[in-house]
Amino acid sequence: MTTFTPTPQKPWRASKRERGFDFAILLGGFLASYLLVALTPMKGKLAYFALFFISYALLAALLKGLTRGSAAAKDALVSSLVVVGAVVTVIPIGSILLTVLQKGLPGISFGLFTHDMALATPTDPLSNGGLLHAITGTLTLVALALIMSVPIGILTALYLTEIKGRFTGPIRFLVQAMSGVPSIVAGLFILSAVLYPITKAYSGLMGALSLTILMIPTIARTSEEVLNLIPNELREAGTALGGTQWRTVAMIVLPAAKSGLITAIILGVARIAGETAPILLLTGGGDKVNPNAFNGPMGSLPYYIWKSFNAGSPEAITRAWAGLLVLLGIVLILFTSARFLGTRKISR
């Protein structure tokens, strides 16, 4: 007896005719936008762009509606809106990355990473000076802010999810309110509460303190959401095995939430890495590598970018773009390494 084996097929795939139909709608959209730009006062690239999406969505809805009824029309309309939404989101991001790469790459050189601006001004030729001081400064600021805000932020989240004490409501409200605080307010607060009355001098620490204020709410809120996702059964299992609440949290809840907590920290770093206003107020923006975060002005990438743009000469502007590119690169490296550490599985 021979068994008949049919050839595998994919009957749910669009037929040639259907694909042709879709392509016709696309062409129709192009044509309509071209005609509209030619015939109406709406001109320019943006007009082409906007009119194409509108006419494509309407055309698709109309044609599908005529051939397959009103449900298909709605489906086509919503599908094209979703695509438009996705494209509109991706285009600016791609455009930013492309522009930064295009304008920043000419300013990147090896010397950039080995020299600071102690003996150079932004308007000097690009071979003079570099942004080593800004890179070390930004890394110092982020590291200090991390050291201070990660414990406070996660402990706050633990209070809200594990202890659920009497102040849960007010604290949650305060954390949410704090996440809306403009960065300049955090800067002014440290300026008037710490810098003027106590240290009376610019330092990296002052900048890191203001960044901590900005970072805590982000970490606390995200961590709270992550910890709330940990099933209660795990906490019960830990307690039923004779663990105190603290040991259950430390050994079971936090490890189970690890990758989410790392995301929370990444979001916190993302919030502050490019922060400029409080840095301008508090760090003094030095041009020299300053290894001492507790004394003396400290440079940072946002400050370097700001200062170079202000200088205005073509060399200075190129420096600013190079600084932007380096800042983006650093943030990217931080994120990828955190992700890598967070998702690494135990292998044995």
């Binding site: 059964e233 299992a237 830990g238 039923a240 095995l241 050994m251 690890k258």
Partner: protein, 292 residues
């Protein structure tokens, strides 16, 4: 295995028999409860439980003799789970919970002032309805997690690991992949892992809250096997909705029922009696499947 079992039986005969249940137990040849060195009896006196104003459980008096398996049966919402959670003091984690009565372990009330509650939970272990291995730990780490949680020291961790997994009937299936994550096991294996985990801290009593309700019939039978083996050395209380299961694994069965008010214990007797000639009409209706 057989020899140790027999020597244990020998000690059982001479042992002092604990109260009420032990007397009815005379009719059951299968197992005689004893106050052997390894097992410890548990007794509840006048247990009531509340959630806020809701009176969930009223006046439960039960005596779980050492080395026996007691099944708690009854329709949903009659307070069986609440009852076993009062015994290892897990009840108090629910906001608004309250209770009254005494739970005596070795004659000492676990609710007495000054009791170290974590020590109580070490002596009265618990297996939950849904398998809940710790996701961040490997199989081996899961089994030994209780030691770390309670900060206990053991001389030979590998021996303990193997012993617990063997007693839970899981050793042969996982011995080559102790470093794999607990989540990589099947549901039934995960539940046996959770049983092994509770055994590692050497509890005297094991509370099981519908341990098989999320499992397939094959895994259920394996866990029932495990329960029978464990009962040689410890006292087991198991909540179950499956009456065949109660009949298969338990020495005694207690029937709980709520008539709209707080849950009550209607009847407790050796399992064979509950299923063959229950004294209370409501028990008979339930075990014969007329309601519930």
């Amino acid at each position: 295995m057989t020899t140790s079992h027999e020597s244990e039986k020998a000690t059982m005969d001479t042992a002092v028999k604990p109260s009420s249940l032990a007397q009815v137990a005379n009719s059951q040849a299968a197992k005689t409860p004893s106050a052997s060195a390894e097992g410890t009896g548990l007794e509840t006196r006048g247990i009531h439980a509340w959630f806020g104003k809701h009176h969930a459980l009223a006046d439960i008096n039960l005596n779980f003799a050492a080395g026996t398996v007691t099944a708690l049966i009854g329709p949903s919402g009659c307070g069986k789970s609440t009852f076993i959670r009062t015994m290892n003091r897990m009840h108090e984690f629910i906001p608004g919970a309250a209770m009254a009565g005494e739970v005596l372990l070795d004659g000492k009330d676990v609710y007495a002032a000054g009791t170290d509650v974590t020590k109580i939970r070490l002596k009265i272990g618990m297996v939950f309805q849904k398998p809940n291995p710790f996701p961040s730990m490997t199989i081996g780490e899961n089994v030994l997690s209780g030691l770390k949680l309670a900060q206990l020291k053991v001389d030979n961790k590998d021996d303990l690991l193997q012993e617990c997994l063997e007693r839970a009937g899981l050793w042969s299936e996982v011995k080559d992949r102790l470093g794999a994550h607990g989540g990589s096991l099947s549901g039934g294996q995960q539940q046996r892992l959770c049983i092994a985990r509770s055994l590692a801290v050497r509890p005297k009593v094991l509370l099981m809250d519908e341990p098989c309700s999320a499992l397939d019939p094959g895994s259920t039978l394996r866990i029932e096997d495990t329960i029978r083996h464990l009962s040689e050395t410890m006292t087991i209380v198991i909540v179950t909705h499956n009456m065949q299961q109660a009949a298969r694994v338990s020495d005694y069965t207690a029937f709980f029922l709520s008539d709209g008010g707080p849950g009550q214990m209607i009847e407790v007797a050796p399992t064979s009696e509950i299923f063959s000639r229950p004294k209370d009409e409501r028990t008979e209706n339930y075990v014969t499947g007329r309601f519930g």
